[in-house]
């Protein structure tokens, strides 16, 4: 039984990297705007379909298609914020959550109307090989997913810590009012962060679409897993989202193998509920201060 442990962990990390990326893209929006985007999963789904259309429909190579999809989703995220969220930013949390959820539903409904009855799969832009290292198999899917996410994380880290734009982002993360006082256009910043979150989500969706069949419901599926990753790592913590995602991926594999395959589906839900009940701030989050 133990001999497969490294194999499970490798597979878990590869899946977990995807969760990490999507959780991170939600956390970026959450930290910037203090809104949890309940429609984010559907943006991920839209990204996956966008890249499908670009590669299969327009016959573009994978990487340009990926960039186009990310750009398109940036515009979509930016537009969603400008048209739908910004007018109600001062409203109650309920309207904000419902607005995001409803906008996501519109996207999902549109995708289902168009592609609901077809099973679509994205062609891999690489050969589907695998390598053997000791007893452990590394598939090309695992390597590409993990590598792509690590690259993105590195790039994000550099942007956040080494560029002037990163300084602005960190300033707004710390205090919206303070950032506004030193002359940062917080509204414009919110829009850009929504766009960035959506673009990151689109890349996550593209990576996801490499290994699973496209369906309008993959958005919700990823949303719930990203929530679990965010909750586990600590809501609002960037590093926490990444580590939470990886941990969740590994946990799914371990529970699925050592307990029952039925548990793969609900690991995320159980993790979410248990963490919020036992330690609401997660592993790395600060205890949430309630606004009075």
């Amino acid at each position: 039984m133990l001999i497969v442990l490294p194999q499970l962990i490798v597979g878990g990390i590869a899946t977990g990297m995807l969760y990490a990326l999507i959780a991170l893209s939600m956390t970026v929006v959450y930290r910037a705007t203090t809104i949890v985007n309940f429609g984010h999963g559907d943006l991920v789904m839209a990204g996956a379909y966008a890249i499908f259309v670009f590669t299969a429909g327009l016959a573009l190579p994978f990487l340009p298609a990926l960039l186009l999809a990310a750009g398109l989703l940036f515009l979509l995220g930016f537009g969603l914020h400008r048209l739908l969220m910004q007018p109600i930013m001062s409203g109650p949390h309920l309207s904000l959550a419902m607005m995001a959820l409803a906008a996501g539903n519109v996207l999902r409904g549109a995708a289902r109307l168009e592609w609901g009855n077809e099973t679509l799969a994205l062609a891999r832009p690489y050969a589907q090989t695998s390598f053997l290292l000791g007893q452990t198999v590394f598939t090309m899917d695992d390597i590409v997913t993990t590598g792509a996410v690590l690259l993105l994380l590195l790039a994000l880290f550099c942007v956040l810590h080494l560029t002037p734009a990163g300084k602005i982002i960190q300033a707004v993360f710390q205090s919206q009012r303070g950032a506004a006082l030193v002359g940062i256009n917080v509204n414009a910043f919110h829009g850009v962060m929504w766009g960035t979150g959506a673009a990151l989500g689109a890349i996550g969706g593209a990576l996801l679409a490499l290994t699973v069949t496209l369906s309008p419901d993959i958005g919700v599926w990823t949303l719930l897993r990203a929530f679990a990753a965010m909750t586990l790592g600590g809501f609002g913590s960037l590093g926490g989202a990444v580590i939470g995602g990886i941990l969740l991926g590994v946990m799914e594999k371990l529970l699925g193998f050592y307990v029952s395959t039925a548990f793969i589906d609900i690991t995320a839900y159980v993790v979410t509920i248990l963490v919020l009940l036992v330690r609401p701030q997660g592993l790395f989050g600060r205890p949430a201060a309630r606004r009075i």
Binding site: P87, M98, N105, G109, L224, I266
Partner: protein, 321 residues
């Protein structure tokens, strides 16, 4: 106050409305009657949901879970224990109430707002997983056939018979919730929604009211679930997915948050219209999503606020405006 007596008297006239509906069945064909019955199912569902989201102001996504629990409780008790349908109504309500109580536990632990939403969303999906996995009880993903129902031996064999029973149940839940919201409890809900800390400082036992609100919501929605089980005659996990959640959200948002009139209106509008489009997968999600977006942007208090503009009788007294 004398000025409030007149609208109150005028309001009583609305009790005539269900009475007028009693004469409806002869004018409807089988399918129209089914749609009307479906509307009646969604009245308690909307009323219960609106209580938690609108009146208590909590971002809880667990309503579909209560709905499913009520439906499956009723179905399983009829199928496995051979209970008559009317006898499964109290257990369905109680199981719903227990689920409601369970859903309010995180709220007691200080889990609020987005956290509560995420958690209750996970709870709902966990329940849907259970319907699929507890195959011996629920029939798994194939679903279960619900035996034919009766009320004290009076078989609910036709749609119009169901109509009268459903009408009575829907009216009862609306009236009971109305009484609840007008009482001390309803005022406590209002205070908690406006400012929880201030409510606690005034001596309102907020946790107790939380559990009470969620449990009542679960009870009412559970009854709705039992009605649903009998109406459709077949329960499957697909009936309790996220499309159902957006439908129920559409009912309370389009109808009007924190408004009983709104819940009823929403149930009528949202349940009746999309039946026409039921054959196009995705269309319902699209329409409900668009409706919610438009309502939040342009009509934040829903259709009920339009009605209130027509006549003050429709103005809600359990919302502070």
């Amino acid at each position: 106050m004398a000025s409030e007596a007149a609208p109150r008297r005028a309001r009583r006239r609305f009790l005539l409305l269900p009475a007028l509906l009693l004469a409806l069945p002869p004018f409807l064909d089988q399918y129209q009657q089914y749609v009307v019955n479906l509307v009646l199912v969604y009245i308690p569902v909307g009323v219960g949901f609106n209580l938690v989201v609108g009146n208590l102001g909590q971002l809880a996504f667990s309503n579909v879970a209560f709905f499913g629990i009520g439906a499956y409780t009723s179905g399983i008790l009829m199928l496995k224990l051979g209970l008559p349908w009317w006898a499964t109504l109290p257990p369905a309500g109680i199981m719903g109430a227990l689920a409601g109580g369970a859903a309010s536990v995180p709220a007691l632990r200080g889990v609020r707002s987005f956290y509560l939403a995420v958690m209750t969303l996970a709870f709902g999906e966990l329940m849907r997983w259970s319907y699929i996995r507890l195959e011996s009880l629920t029939g798994g993903s194939m679903g279960m056939a619900v035996p034919s129902a009766d009320v004290f031996g009076w078989a609910l064999a036709t749609e119009w018979r169901k109509f009268y029973v459903f009408l009575a149940l829907a009216a009862a839940t609306v009236i009971a919730t109305d009484r609840l919201l007008r009482s001390r409890i309803g005022r406590a809900f209002m205070a908690i929604k406006d400012n929880e800390t201030a409510a606690a400082a005034m001596g309102i036992a907020t946790s107790g009211y939380f559990v009470l609100g969620f449990a009542w919501s679960g009870f009412v929605v559970g009854i709705g679930g039992a009605m649903f089980a009998v109406l459709v005659g077949h329960l499957s996990p697909d009936s309790f997915d996220l499309i159902e959640l957006i439908l129920q959200f559409a009912i309370i948002m389009v109808g009007g948050l924190a408004s009983l009139t709104g819940s009823v209106l929403g149930a009528v509008v949202i349940t009746a219209t999309p039946q026409i489009f039921a054959n196009f997968p995705g269309f319902q999600e699209l329409i409900f999503g668009l409706l919610i977006v438009l309502v939040i942007l342009f009509l934040p208090r829903g259709l009920a606020s339009l009605l209130a503009r027509l006549h003050p009788v429709f103005r809600d007294q359990y919302y502070d405006g």
